[in-house]
Symmetry: C2
Subunit: 321 residues, 2 copies
Amino acid sequence: MHPIPPGTRDVLPDEMLELRSITERLRGTFESAGYGEVWTPLLEYEEVLRTGDEAAAGAGYRMFDEGGQVLALRSDMTIPIGRLVATRLADTGEPLRLCYVAHAYRAVGHGSGQQSEFLQAGLELIGVEGEDGEAEVIELTLAALDAAGLARHRIGLGDGALYRTLLADLEVPPHRHGDLLERLSMRDLVGLELLVDGLGLARDARDMLVALPALRGGAEIFDQVDGPARGALEGLRTLHAALADRGVADRVILDLGLVRTLGYYTGAVYEVYDPAVGFTLGGGGRYDELIGRFGAPRPACGIALDVQRVHIAQAAEEGLR
Amino acid sequence: MHPIPPGTRDVLPDEMLELRSITERLRGTFESAGYGEVWTPLLEYEEVLRTGDEAAAGAGYRMFDEGGQVLALRSDMTIPIGRLVATRLADTGEPLRLCYVAHAYRAVGHGSGQQSEFLQAGLELIGVEGEDGEAEVIELTLAALDAAGLARHRIGLGDGALYRTLLADLEVPPHRHGDLLERLSMRDLVGLELLVDGLGLARDARDMLVALPALRGGAEIFDQVDGPARGALEGLRTLHAALADRGVADRVILDLGLVRTLGYYTGAVYEVYDPAVGFTLGGGGRYDELIGRFGAPRPACGIALDVQRVHIAQAAEEGLR
């Protein structure tokens, strides 16, 4: 009787109040730190989204406008904000701090059990290079979730470029990178090992490619790495030191196997966890090339939180107390 | 360079803060009066929207899902809330007071200059019949706009069924109603007069059909009507008295030519004006049959405000001060 599309839901007043309390606290934290809220249209030309990231554009709902052009529902806010920054905000030389509370959409099939409509709260820091930018975003994410009532949340921190850099350093042919990175992004370390074994590498190189993605923990993991990987980890080491300076390193879990699937990440990548629930609450990373696809290049990093998941984690934490 | 679809816009932080200040005040007023905020999915099955109102479903962006069913972006919140009330909230015998702050979408052509993406703040009062319901909605709308910083706003009040009732009473053949109501909804009183002249009615009846839609003002207009129209105005007269009891009748302009175009209105209809701007800020009315199309019938009325237009009116009022 009068169904709603798969992956969507009606939200009644009691839950709505709780969700709004979360979005107001997240946004309040972002705004206090100088992040200004923006809105971009729900519908974008698919070609524009595709300019930002091929895979992201394909993930969304699509339709034709009356002139035959393909429109798509945004599947995240990072690409539209990249477009906005490269067009209307291109003349701003200073760093830009932008945030949003908005829905994003991904087409899902019947019975998949996946959400298709996501309420996201996120931020984008544009024009700040390297660990200063990332440390600010990570610290602010932790603080925003503190404000939203979580107590046990942690940030998983990896380097989205690390494995690609190592594969290039080891002269693994580029056409074999895709399968390896796919196994890695699925956290399928057994499948990854099988593929690495098939590469015909020297023992040391083979062991490094297999062992590295399993390294997870605090700064001690840097001591467990030597050889060519040591140099490739320099960025992550610097960032970890910056996080220690800000007093939040103990809430960050280094994870050398972490790879986010979106194609626009170029450096550090993060995911948000809460031990009370078995799913990530959000994620992000550095995307220094995205804005340049729309105009003048600018370094940038950001993060998006799934508000409904934050809400579930909040309830789960309360249940544990 | 990287255009956005016609009728949409990016909103930058300064404006966003102002829009949010308006939505928070509108919602604050609604919630203080016992209205609970709800969210419904942006995408609905077109067939479901069509169950609510044929024309509303056709107004929106449409696409196919992977199973070949047609999805549509909601073109208002009243129909989705009607669906929600008739399904998940069907067991509630008591009146329901629901509100929302959400975007609605209508497909527009290139160069039409019309908006396709609307931020609406609105409310729906379900289960309260007659003038009590309408007076509550009108009083609350005035108060919400007071809170949002407007001072000169007025409500135009008409009866969406009035002209149809008169045409039926005068035995005008039903196939001629459509053209007449269309002229009326366009406020084309000259075109209306030409059509009425072609109906071959007696002089009195002809004069009434021509003169009535031009009547606009306070309670004095009731004295300017006699004959069959007098009885048809009884509902509006009772409502005006209820508004006087609530002390807001002087902010309401009776308008016997007011017809809202949406097909689901069954009684009183309202529009919100501000003399500082030349467009309506929103509108609504009574829709006693909509919920019954999804399940058990319940009387209902509501109103939706266009937040961006309220913002423009607010700035225009400040300019006049």
